[in-house]
């Protein structure tokens, strides 16, 4: 799916990530943790080709990101659902239109019943006509997840998806991610919330990666 081979990334003159090698296998569930500023968001941006590595090679769906045209990047992103902590929507469009945005930009006609099912799955069935500024933080995160999965992507990348949520809402979002993983989706969640990771490990066979000293390592029992 997504592979990093000896990847490094320099940011503002300093090296943020160094010698990163990793493969996200289909259907796997990974957590990526580390302190703030360790490079978790940068790692995710490299994984969906928003950034290019300064050294090494990132391949997405067996294609080197350096060889991707801008149109190729757009096509790749249709196969990767991304959920950000500070998720952004088109504030002038109702929730249902925002969630179906990936379908709209790819010229696909969505089935309204699927949209209803999807919104109900994330618990937003009653808010289809609401505008994004009217949504709470938890509702925005769930809406972002719905938008991320509407195209049936192979991979879902979530960057601190529970950062602005209370514990109850975080668990709800985690449950949705676990359900997606059970459907065969590859999941990578960047988070510094260790409680969330411990809870998730009771529900799914997740690997936990940690960024330390610019390198990535498998987290052990000290988690």
């Amino acid at each position: 799916m997504i592979a990093f081979d000896n990847v490094a990334y320099n940011y503002g003159g300093g090296e943020l990530l160094s010698d990163i090698s990793l493969r996200l296998a289909p259907g796997s569930f990974h957590f990526l943790t580390g302190p703030s500023g360790a490079g978790k968001s940068t790692f995710l941006k490299l994984a969906y080709a928003e950034l290019l590595p300064t050294a090494g090679r990132v391949t997405i769906f067996d294609r080197d990101v350096r060889g991707l045209t801008r149109d190729d990047v757009a096509l790749v992103r249709r196969r990767i659902g991304v959920v950000h902590q500070d998720v952004q929507f088109l504030d002038h469009l109702p929730l249902a239109a925002n969630v179906s945005l990936p379908l709209m930009v790819s010229g696909k006609a969505g089935d309204p019943r699927d949209m209803t099912d999807l919104l109900q799955w994330v618990g937003l069935g009653q808010l289809a006509d609401a505008l994004p500024p009217q949504l709470s933080g938890g509702e925005r995160q769930r809406a972002a997840l719905a938008r991320a999965v509407i195209m049936g992507p192979d991979v879902i990348l979530a960057d601190e998806p529970t950062g602005n949520l209370d514990w109850e809402m975080s668990l709800r979002l985690l449950t949705l991610l676990v359900e997606l993983n059970k459907m065969g989706k590859t999941i990578l969640v960047a988070t510094h919330d260790l409680n969330l990771i411990r809870t998730a490990k009771n529900q799914v066979a997740a690997r936990v990666l940690r960024i330390r000293n610019r390198r990535i390592q498998l987290a052990g029992a000290d988690l």
């Binding site: 941006k45 080709a49 928003e50 950034l51 801008r70 149109d71 757009a74 096509l75 790749v76 992103r77 249709r78 991304v82 952004q88 929507f89 088109l90 504030d91 002038h92 469009l93 239109a97 945005l101 990936p102 709209m104 930009v105 790819s106 938008r147 195209m151």
Partner: protein, 298 residues
């Protein structure tokens, strides 16, 4: 490239929704297009009118000349007859005739009034010369006239015709240049408006890129909107400009150069070409601005 441009103009209600409908750039674009097209209509009218004027002045003066005979009253008839004889035998001259007293009086009436006693004044006699298609030897004719009628002077209008024709053709050129400058100014203003709209909608563009929108799709949403706004504004400006030109005084009422500032016949249709041209300018300007902005995004 061309297919992409055409595709960007194809109506797409879904895509049009992704760009917020309002904003100050909306009325700015419409107003700019309307104002610039309004000015372009007048520049076009000026250019066409000066072109006609240059043609008219050139045509009216090119084939005629005048022989002016200044002689004592007792020799006037003799010298006039001599001049006419010379002219009749000059190759390249189609016809020549002496103006009558009434005709000379009519020529002077605008300056001295209708009651001018022409016969009491020592006015020169004017002989109208019409040139043949092959032209005549002006210098040879001057020498022959000097020999046969010492008081006769040939005026072939060159010194009048040349500056008038040059002035008219310069006006024609300036009219065309004004249209080009108006088009360039409109392109610059629409580019600024498009850049402002793109900057104001940076979040929209980022979201669209994250969910997998191609640059063509994003650019088309902006290009379509700006092109249609420009087309609408320009159409309004063209109509207002045409009304303004139509309301100018007619030639019959006042006469003079300004009264000829208008369109004739099919010329009235020319301003209708301005809105599509303006829309084309907007399309190119917005597309360039959109792709420039998009290239800066990951």
């Amino acid at each position: 490239m061309i297919a992409s441009v055409i595709a960007s103009l194809r109506p797409d209600r879904q895509a049009d929704r992704v760009v917020p409908p309002s904003g100050h750039t909306a009325w700015l674009t419409v107003f700019t297009a309307a104002a610039m097209t309004f000015l372009a209509v007048f520049a076009l009218a000026l250019s066409l009118a000066s072109g006609r004027l240059a043609e008219r002045w050139g045509g009216a003066l090119a084939n005629t000349a005048t022989v002016r005979i200044s002689a004592p009253p007792d020799q006037m008839e003799l010298q006039t007859a001599a001049v006419l004889r010379v002219l009749e035998t000059t190759p390249g001259i189609a016809s020549a005739r002496a103006l009558t007293d009434d005709e000379q009086k009519a020529l002077l009436a605008p300056w001295f009034g209708p009651d001018l006693p022409v016969e009491a004044l020592p006015l020169p006699r004017l002989v109208e010369v019409v040139e043949g298609p092959d032209g005549y030897d002006g210098e040879g004719l001057r020498q022959r006239l000097a020999a046969e009628a010492p008081g006769a002077v040939l005026d072939d209008h060159t010194r009048w015709r040349r500056p008038l024709a040059v002035a008219a053709s310069r006006l024609n050129l300036l009219g065309g240049l004004a249209i080009v400058l108006i088009g360039a100014a409109m392109a610059a203003m629409i580019t600024l408006a498009a850049n402002a709209a793109l900057a104001a909608n940076a979040q929209v563009i980022r979201v669209l890129r994250v969910v997998g929108a191609r640059d063509d799709y994003i650019a088309a949403a902006f290009v379509r909107r700006f092109t249609l706004r420009t087309l609408a504004g320009s159409a309004a400006g063209a109509v207002l400009g045409l009304v303004g030109v139509a309301l100018l005084p007619s030639v019959d009422e006042a006469g003079g150069f300004l009264t000829g500032l208008g369109f004739q016949g099919a010329g009235w249709l020319l301003p209708l070409l301005l809105p599509p041209v303006a829309a084309g300018v907007a399309l190119i300007a917005t597309r360039a601005a959109a792709f420039r902005t998009l290239r800066e995004l990951p």
